[in-house]
Symmetry: D2
Subunit: 133 residues, 4 copies
């Protein structure tokens, strides 16, 4: 499990006064980027030096409680599944007093940069993700 | 069914060269806003003059093909379900030659602005959504 | 002069109820992308097939009146200056009844993709921009 | 002077591979929000409990060096000017090795929430901003 902390910014809210729903996905991805960076697979490295991509083929989220500008949240990221050519991460968002505010999931596949075809998870990436379990 | 057309903007792509996944949700919401506007329930009206909100409690998306800057897409919005206190919209994204690029879904509930409690869909809204079916 | 029309989306507003200021820059860029596309220099083409980039080295905006979700706006883009290795575009935002709501400016330079050095504006681009004057 | 640290996220870059220009303004505002929060004028408080707004009437930025996903940046915020009904903040963005990557400025006015007219800076806000100088 990986923990990521952040604060809801004004530009993540909308005129109805709360977090705009698509920004929960953005925040989940921020947590995932931070996790990858810590695991040695930061996006700068992935984009410049690796021969594979990790596109998202499915994403979902549940919204349990409203989030306001200035709310300090914790996003817990867990490895839900590791397949041959894909992996699934799940996300749990809480505010500091441990109230659940949202849930989410992203499913990623490994794609060869040149052929754009699915490939098995490269071993170092598989190892890094397995370690998070 | 409601059709909405738009073009992928540079700021909707990321350094991996394609549409950033959370922006598919944003585009789905743009289509939904346009539909509500046409149905007499535009967000300006909802925020200023109505005593209810329509928060999203669940959202999901599938990504079928990559989208690039400049791609012209069509989003078809359909009413998938109308419940007592909620409704579900589904979204189908295609590029101009009719290739499917993405799917999505949003589930909305009707909330009283003051009490923040669920309320039955107000009749005029129910009627407007029913007409779209 | 080039005219671009768009509608303020919910996700472009914030909890203070109005357009979040940085989104005026985003909208200006949307207008600029549309203009480039019409001139044969769309971003897909620039990114994939050209050997130069057009990074922005300066941007500014003035905010004259608040913008709400659903507001229909027109952005007029004008070529303010064409230099040897740079060009400047100015932007005027009005709502449908012709009220001025914002002004803006972006300064672009031509950079060789490989050397990352400034280069003179390629002739076809210079010609395309000159035609807009 | 106030220091704010952050990391460039994937969704802040675009298909040209670098930070999308309007996101520098967004990051500047994130720093400003953090500063206001520390000064007792966080946006949650401003929106819910204060009778004034602080809209931006002018913003500008210079871009000195490209920023990539994963780059760790520091934003230094300084009070450039305090007027009767307005104040100006300036921003300096550097990467960790102290290279200057960007500059910016935002001009804010104090507006009465009800009358939407300019009002003198409320004393507690003036005091808080003055302390930052």
């Amino acid at each position: 499990m990986y923990k990521y902390e952040t604060t809801i910014k004004l530009h993540e809210t909308d005129a109805a006064g709360l977090l705009f729903f698509s920004h929960q996905f953005k925040l989940m991805h921020d947590a995932y980027e931070s996790l990858l960076e810590k695991s040695g697979f930061g996006f700068a490295e992935l984009i410049r030096n690796k021969d594979f991509f990790l596109p998202i083929i499915h994403a979902e989220a549940d919204y349990k409680k409203p989030l306001f500008v200035g709310d300090r949240i914790i996003i817990e990221v867990e490895v839900e599944n590791i397949g041959t050519t894909s992996f699934t991460f799940s996300y749990k968002l809480t505010v500091k007093n441990h109230d659940l505010v949202g849930l989410g999931k992203t499913v990623h596949v490994t794609i060869d940069k040149k052929t754009r075809q699915k490939i098995p998870l490269p071993s170092p990436l598989r190892d890094a993700i397995t370690k998070l379990q």
